[in-house]
Symmetry: C2
Subunit: 342 residues, 2 copies
DNA sequence: GTGAAAGCGCTAACAA
DNA sequence: TTGTTAGCGCTTTCAC
């Protein structure tokens, strides 16, 4: 809302007794304008404090130079990393980034996405809300041929670029690592199985057991929503078994930490008595004591990649969609390094 | 970049053999349009999958319905909390939010701010970059009467709404707490003093020393940009003094942590030999061992408040600026609880 | 209650 | 190399 209305190219034109189109061209470094004229124009523009009105330019060009990003919650390390990476790439490529959070609510997500459409974003990067069950608000982007990229949580039935992490390999690697460290009874604290990510992590766990000829024991798998408190109650339940585990693969770092603290307070040594591995590499995992072994998910890279893909979709007509599975990385820290104590 | 060009109000108008202005009015619920016409129009709009082009509307209205937010780094807990709070309030009030990160670089900040100005944001919420030394790019907002709100790191010489935490009280409280715990030589690892926040924290530190009749020793204050590495080198420098400190008030939690790890590796006990307090209450501070005493800053609330203030500036002509000082809270944890060891 | 016309600030085809 | 003109999609004054 500009009060003392801003100078426009017409003001500059009038000042110099030339046409607005010449000014426009000069300011955009059009080669058809002579150097002298350009310099004159730029000097006057500077003097008048001229700033181009991108709104007008965007309307004219039918391009907003804006990329929309929708995440469940901005204030979560993984998502803010993704945003940070995407913003970085987008800004360097001359795009603005508008961000909204769905709070994992389907209604707010629909609302946001429609608003972004009205704002004519050039493309949309989204990780869908947990609650979202219908996808018409997203299908419309495909139908209208507006670039769309999913990350982390994708919609299987919508064909477009997707970037996910390899949860299966992550789960497998964690389990294999624990076996390699000499742990025999490995429990798994799993997340709700309707989310692909948690489902795949568990599948990796099961696969690793099978490959190592370890009999699967159902009582060693506990499924919940992986809050800090649930980590504690799950461990209590596991330790109450007649044959308790000697290692726990926790579905996330939060439960790994709460489990670890609970066990430590009970006088159980980590990793000597029980090995612990988490998932996601939260910032705290590295700095707690003992430090928590975990799986790193490359959030920043994911954001960079998502931005690259959407910009590719925006700037080329190519429509060969890919699903990029970013590798997970096992970070071995103290909480599972039993070998170093032997 | 719309391919199959979107339906406009003219398309709707043609369909119904009425004028575009009537359609516009109907869609905006203008009372001068009869209910019947409105319903007819809305029905057709729906059927055609019409979505208003906010770009055009914004250009015409000279209002972008967008609030810009600039933070040093999105991927930092405090800042992402602020963004989350601001986004929440802004979205509910019908505003979009565009976000950029300066990476604490003055050049990028200037670049971003100019770009936001070009995009005609209705208002700007910003925490300035550490490196920023000149403020012309921000003064222009005031000059042009575009709403501007500072949070966390404000520019004293620019008069506008500001939301800060009570850094002075925070610094004072930390220092007094250390004194109460029996520490005698308290060092301060300070941030660059052109930033009010760090300046005030140091002022609080100095004031507490004075009030307790403790002689200020200049060699105990080190000023840098508070990165993890600088935390280490600062501590090295402090411990190399002929009369090293027995407590360190670190300007943020990051340096508190790196300092702590460095000291621990040198065999120095925390808090028995040296007490440590940080600032900002990063998520990791609670879970590291020993846990780090710190000052909590209400990030989410700050964001909400900032959004409220900017919307108030946007929607009213009132220009009575306020500086809101949000209270800080001292959180005492293990790293400074020496008394419990005596 | 509805329409005609002008214009927000910019760009680009066409002309000169 | 520069100017003329039209128009992006919307809102709004003025007329009826």
């Amino acid at each position: 809302m500009i009060k003392n209305s801003e100078p426009t190219i017409h003001d500059i034109a009038r000042e110099l007794n030339i046409s607005a189109s010449t000014v426009s061209r000069a300011l955009n470094d059009n080669p058809r304008i002579s150097l002298k004229t350009k310099e004159k124009i730029k000097a006057v523009a500077d003097a008048m404090g001229y700033r181009p009105n991108t709104l007008a330019s965007n309307l004219r060009n039918k391009k907003s130079n804006t990329i929309g990003i929708v995440v469940p919650l901005i204030n979560r390390h993984f998502f803010s990393s993704v945003i940070s990476g995407a913003e970085d790439v987008a800004f360097k490529a001359g795009y603005n980034v508008v961000i909204s959070q769905s709070n994992d609510l389907a209604d707010k997500e629909i609302n946001i996405v429609q608003s972004m459409f009205s704002n004519r974003v050039d493309g949309l990067i989204i990780s869908i809300a947990m609650q979202t069950k219908t996808f018409d608000h997203l299908k419309i982007f495909r139908k209208k041929n507006i670039p769309l990229v999913f990350f982390d949580r994708a919609v299987p039935e919508i064909e477009t670029d997707k970037i996910v992490v390899d949860d299966f390999a992550g789960g497998f690697r964690v389990t294999q690592h624990l076996i390699d460290q000499g742990y025999k009874r490995i429990a798994h604290l799993a997340g709700t199985q309707n989310l692909m990510a948690y489902f795949d992590r568990k599948k990796g766990y099961l696969d690793a057991l099978r490959k190592n000829n370890i009999q699967f024991d159902e009582s060693l798998v506990i499924i919940n929503t992986l809050t800090s408190d649930e980590g504690v109650s799950a461990v209590q339940q596991l330790m109450a078994l007649k044959n308790p585990p000697d290692a726990i693969f926790c579905g996330n770092d939060t439960t790994a930490l709460s489990a670890m603290i609970f066990l430590r307070d009970k006088g159980i040594r980590i990793p000597q008595d029980i090995g612990i591995v988490g998932f996601s590499n939260e910032p705290f995992s590295k700095v707690v004591s003992p430090s928590i072994s975990t799986i790193a998910q490359p959030g920043f890279q994911m954001g960079q990649k998502a931005a690259e893909l959407i910009i590719r979709q925006i700037e080329t007509k190519e429509r060969t969609y890919q699903t990029i599975v970013l590798p997970t990385e096992l970070i071995v820290r103290e909480s599972s390094s039993r070998r170093s104590f032997q």
